[in-house]
Amino acid sequence: MSPFLQGLITICLGVGGCVAYFWVSNLVLDRVIFPARGRDPGRNIARANMVRPWLFLFPALFSVTLYLVYPVVGSFIRSLYNRDGDVFLGFGNYRALWGDDGFRTALLNNFLWVLVVPAGATFFGLIVAQLTDRLKWGAIAKSIIFMPMAISFVGASLIWKFVYANNAQIGLLNAIRAFFGATSPIDPLQIPFWNNFFLMVILIWIQTGFAMVILSAALRGIPEETVEAAVLDGANPFQIFFRIMVPQIWPTIMVVWTTITILTLKIFDIVYASTGGNFGTQILPSYMMQYMFRDDGRATAIAIVIMIVVLPVMIYNIRQARKELD
């Protein structure tokens, strides 16, 4: 059978199956389980109406449980065992993590990432959105700034590895240093502590475009009259921007901020591709990768830690997004 036909049949079966499920189950509920006849048809209708939402929700609930809840619970249970899954360790893996310098460095670095990257990307995105708003060539500027969004994290890391190359012929940074008279090149990715920030620049570079697009739309949504009223009230451009415009799009800023925060907490490729976690640049996801295929089964424990760290931001994000919908 041709793959095209296979695909077509699958789609038909899938869609047909869904329709059949809703239709048949609804029919069974109304005709067989709680039929609207007998001594008290009104009560049966009321009961059927109480069950119906659950009937329709069931497929979604089932898949969420299978693909989300089960893995979380499974991972947590697994994190309590050793690598082979036959010795119960309790919270031994977590204790081992806490005792590991590498983990603490990764956790600290992760906090730095979360502080710097979302703030940086949102800030630059906001500034770019505002500055390009009224320009003739603003659309071109925006598309150029948006372009890194289309580059994979690994690709971006490789590009920046050239920028950071320990060589004035290849590395842009060292070339600039050489222009100002520095004689010997340096390797920015090996400068302790600060190398973290050089890696964060890569993600800021990628995410600024995202922040810019969303915030630019939000800025356009601000009623022009409020800005004009502020002009009449005597506010200067900075006061108008920070006291009239930014507060009006604050919910959107928070959504952008938290979305980038969540992404930042999951980032792994950039560290993996540029330093491999060496020179003190480890973060939690790359640290997890390091343990995934060796050692004592603590990778699942790290996964759980990452999830716990992401969770509050996630909840806040969803709340903000909902608030914005109101």
């Binding site: 009259e225 004009e228 009223a229 502020a230 002009v231 009449l232 005597g234």
Partner: protein, 366 residues
């Protein structure tokens, strides 16, 4: 507390000219209303006075100072927007205080000004609410309060009532009139497309049309002696009836014949001997029309539609040409059974307007 002078003011966007030759003197304490059909540039003119639009020709002076290039906040004006333009993230208090905070006024001064404005506008109970928790009328009052707090020389209102529902519009209109009375020295400029607002609020009305000023005058001047056909039809509702006519007798009282309705009318408008045979438009307001049995009448025709509104009855007469606006008569009281009947109508000689080439014969030498 200021006088405004617009001298030959013009506005163009590139090659497109939207306003020109605007000459207007506004005295201290006046309430000037700009009216005109939509797109006539009345809001643009207001925004030019505010400084939100650049003046591309002529000069604007406030109290003798040329304002063309003065930034909006230093012109001594405050503006109330159609959409209120409240800062949605600030409480009522902060909305009103914003301009003063920007001006770095002292805390006590700001509090005093806000409290005073809130008292005048009965907003004291709402000072800590956000705009979204207010009704339309309250929001508009906050917008006015924001203007009052700044104690400006000139208040600008850009269709402030058009977002309110009918009942609230009447109430707010009266509040604005009272506000004006409470501040007799402040100069106000008010843009609207609503005639009732214009007639009730204005000390003088400026009718804008065709990129310029059609007429300036007190509401009753515009109503009684419109300078041209446009003003005649724009002021008053339903619009003034215009019918083609020919001058057949000149002198202190002019007699015209109206071929369409086979009528002949005497008017109090003086004409010169050479006007005999002049083709004119005879204008009569619907409310000045009355039925008659006399030999001289303005129009005779079949009543096509009768609208009984209780206090008045509006009669629509069929015209010879179907595309022409119907002749309308507005009779006091209730009249029924007129539909389909042929009726003669006329008007008091003093209430008849004559226009030649679109300009009133009373104004043609001006």
């Amino acid at each position: 507390m200021a006088e405004l002078k617009l001298n030959d003011v013009a506005k163009s966007y590139g090659p497109i000219n939207v306003l020109r030759d605007i000459d207007l003197d506004i005295a201290e304490g006046e309430l000037i209303v700009f009216v005109g059909p939509s797109g006539c540039g009345k809001s643009t003119l207001l925004r030019m006075i505010a400084g939100l639009e650049k003046i591309t020709g002529g000069t604007l002076t406030i109290d003798g100072v040329r304002m063309n290039d003065v930034p909006p906040s230093q012109r001594g004006i405050a503006m109330v927007f159609q959409s209120y333009a409240l800062y949605p993230h600030m409480s009522v208090r902060d909305n009103m205080a914003f301009a003063l905070k920007i001006a770095k006024k002292s805390r006590a001064e700001i509090d005093a000004a806000v409290t005073r404005a809130a008292k005048v506008l009965q907003l004291e109970d709402y000072l800590d609410r956000l705009p979204k928790a207010l009704s339309g009328g309250q929001r508009q009052r906050v917008a006015i309060g924001r203007a009052i707090v700044r104690d400006p020389k000139v208040y600008l209102f850009d269709e402030p009532l058009s977002n309110l529902d009918a009942a609230l519009r009447v109430a707010t209109r009266i509040e604005i009139a009272q506000l004006k009375e409470a501040m007799p020295n402040s100069t106000m400029i008010y843009v609207t497309h609503d005639q009732v607002e214009a007639m009730t609020l204005a000390s003088r009305i400026v009718v804008l049309a065709n990129k310029g000023i059609a007429q300036v005058g007190t509401p009753l001047e515009l109503y009684e002696t419109p300078r041209n056909e446009f003003v005649a039809q724009f002021i008053g509702s339903p619009a003034m009836n215009l019918m083609a006519g020919e001058v057949i007798e000149t002198g202190p009282e002019t007699v015209v014949c109206l071929p369409e309705g086979a009528g002949t009318l005497a008017t109090k408008i003086p004409t010169r001997p050479e006007d005999k045979g002049l083709q004119v438009k005879v204008g009569i307001r619907p409310e000045d029309m009355r039925p008659t049995e006399d030999a001289t009448f303005a129009y005779q025709g079949e009543v096509e539609i009768v609208e009984a509104l209780g206090e008045v009855t509006q009669l629509y007469f069929r015209r010879g040409t179907p595309e022409a606006d119907p002749v309308i008569a507005k009779l006091p009281g209730i009249h029924t059974g007129l539909r389909g009947r042929s009726l003669k109508i006329t008007a008091d000689p003093a209430k008849i307007h004559l226009f030649a080439n679109g300009v009133s014969l009373l104004h043609r030498d001006a």
